[in-house]
């Protein structure tokens, strides 16, 4: 179990690590590392691998927004049904049930502001059970998944020090 946790925390930091790297980093055999990663994938613990991108530098047309959604829970399965409906849209990057003043936190992206406005007006707000939405556009991301998006990490140290 401890090994699984350590593999996951390594891959969260750097999904490019190979089984050889993982084996060396944790002091286990390469075969064990490979099997462990495969098991984590098969069990659905590792859901996928992705890169953290500075979209502006890439020069892509990319706009994203964080939407607070209030929902009337269904009698039989609470928020799950509405959540599933929202989740299925490709525009939705992330979705979570929240405590506090609203119920669902939705992150959506598109190529321009109109995309998102349209999504909120035509798709999201019309879903049965959605009471209200409040949309906040992302203006400038600074940090994502523990990576700084703007600042370059520079090594201030000299080449040698005893």
């Amino acid at each position: 179990m401890e090994t699984n946790r350590r593999i996951c925390s390594l891959l969260k930091e750097n999904a490019k690590l190979t089984p050889t790297d993982i084996a060396r980093l944790l002091g286990i055999t390469e075969a064990d590392a490979e099997a462990a990663v495969r098991r984590l994938e098969q069990k659905g613990i590792i859901r996928g691998y992705s890169a953290v991108i500075n979209e502006e530098r890439l020069g892509s047309d990319y706009v994203s927004a964080f939407i607070e959604v209030k929902v009337t829970p269904k009698a039989d399965d609470g928020f799950d049904e509405v959540a599933r409906t929202i989740m299925m849209y490709d525009e939705v990057e992330s979705l979570a049930l929240m405590s506090g003043a609203f119920d669902l936190a939705v992150t959506v992206s598109g190529t321009d502001y109109k995309d998102i406005a349209l999504f909120v007006a035509k798709r999201l707000s019309t879903i049965n059970g959605v009471i209200s939405t409040s949309t906040h556009f992302f203006l400038k991301p600074y940090k994502e998944k523990n990576f700084f998006l703007e600042e370059e990490q520079k090594d201030e140290r000299g080449f040698f020090a005893p």
Binding site: L10, R24, L25, G158, F159, P162
Partner: protein, 391 residues
């Protein structure tokens, strides 16, 4: 008419006789090159944890910009005392047995200067950090070196210690966890050493600056053995454990009778350690354990990766249990340490430190630091692989 000044006649013989650090030469070479991948640095790659930096900013905002007591802020000395009690099981009186110093280096210097009379011998365990022998020489003492061996995992053997002791021996400088070898002395290793020392009037300067950075093994201080607290000066600091090298903050703990003498030297030479650093250090000790753990885990993973990678390349390397260095043998290449380091730098732009920079017994080895990100280590190892292929 102005007389041309003759510096040579003005400089003290002791200063003139000091050899420049062996690392200097490579430093000069590498700084003039572009695109060097360095593995040569002896300080953490992590920045100081953010909450510690915030504490320093807040200390500045609150005008904590004046001298502290010579021995350091009382609050910090109490925190150091509590910390050591928990970590090494030795209780130091915050009022009389602790001085907050400008890094571990000053603590070592104070210990040596307050004890050594001309002609006194100081036993130094090599390979080791570069400052011990020059500081002993500056104080007029005579360094007596003991070589540690790879077949002993670079540990100090009791018989080697016994054969180095004479009636002039005043000091033993015990540098574990060790820079550059990464060797650690366990309880069982230290026990016979303590048995030898506690029958004698010898002081141990135990340089424990890397005490937090041990892997799968707990640091043991020689001060924790019966009869040894009164014979030991414990040197520690914030640089390595909390990634605070630039803050220049360490401490020296020992018997009140010795600390009182060292405090005089500190008072006249330094006055007090940097005030802002001292405030930040209180929080480092009180709240830093989690961050230390995180950094240690990261070093540990890199350590395993690097040790494996080097052994695979045929650079035989003993498994280091502490600090953040590996010390592989390069004897299989037929090159000397300096030749290896120089060729590697010129041909593949990878900077490592030749082992003989840490004493003659380091010949045949190089020091590689893993205070670098894994990606950095991976590209460096790739270059070393290419380099070895061509040899």
């Amino acid at each position: 008419m102005v007389k041309k000044i003759n510096y040579e006649s003005l400089i003290s013989k002791k200063a003139l006789s000091l050899k420049p650090s062996g690392i200097r030469k490579f430093f000069d070479l590498a700084t003039n090159m572009k695109g060097v991948i360095s593995l040569g640095v002896g300080e953490p790659d992590f920045a100081t944890p953010w909450f510690i930096r915030q504490k320093a900013i807040s200390a500045l905002e609150h005008g904590k910009t004046v001298y502290t007591a010579n021995a350091g802020l009382a609050q910090l000395r109490f925190a150091i005392s509590d910390y050591l009690k928990e970590k090494i099981g030795v209780t130091y009186d915050a009022a009389k047995e602790i001085i907050v110093t400008v890094g571990g280096s000053e603590a070592i210097d104070l210990g040596i200067r307050a004890l050594i009379n001309p002609g006194d011998e100081a036993v130094i365990i090599e390979p080791c950090f570069v400052c011990y022998a020059p500081l002993v020489e500056l104080a007029g003492g005579v360094p007596v070196t003991i070589k540690t061996m790879p077949e002993d995992d670079f540990k100090l053997r009791p018989d080697a210690l016994l054969s180095a002791l004479t009636d002039k021996t005043k000091l033993l400088i015990l540098p574990f966890p060790n820079n550059p070898t990464g060797a650690v002395m366990t309880y069982e290793d230290l026990k016979p050493i303590a048995e030898i020392l506690r029958e004698r009037d010898i002081i141990v300067i135990s340089d424990e600056i890397y005490a937090e950075l041990t892997y799968g093994i707990k640091h043991v201080s020689i001060a924790s053995f019966a009869g040894m607290k009164e014979r030991t000066l414990v040197v520690n600091g914030f640089s390595k454990a909390y990634a605070m090298t630039g803050w220049r903050l360490g401490y020296l703990c020992g018997p009140a009778e010795l600390i009182a003498q060292m405090l005089k030297i500190h008072q006249y030479g330094i006055m007090c350690s940097p005030t802002v650093s001292q405030y930040a250090a209180i929080d480092a000790l009180n709240f830093g354990a989690k961050d230390v753990r995180k950094m240690v885990d990261e070093y540990d993973a890199r350590r395993r990766w690097l040790t494996n990678a080097l052994n695979e390349l045929g650079l035989k390397c003993f498994e280091p249990r502490g600090a953040f260095y590996v010390f592989p043998s390069i004897q299989s290449t037929g090159l000397s340490s300096e030749e290896f380091a120089e060729k590697l730098l010129f041909e593949h732009k990878v900077a490592v430190v030749p082992g003989n920079a840490f004493g003659a017994s380091g010949e045949g080895y190089i020091r590689i630091s893993y205070a670098y990100s894994l990606g950095h280590l991976m590209s460096a190892i790739g270059e070393i692989r290419e380099f070895l292929k061509k040899l």
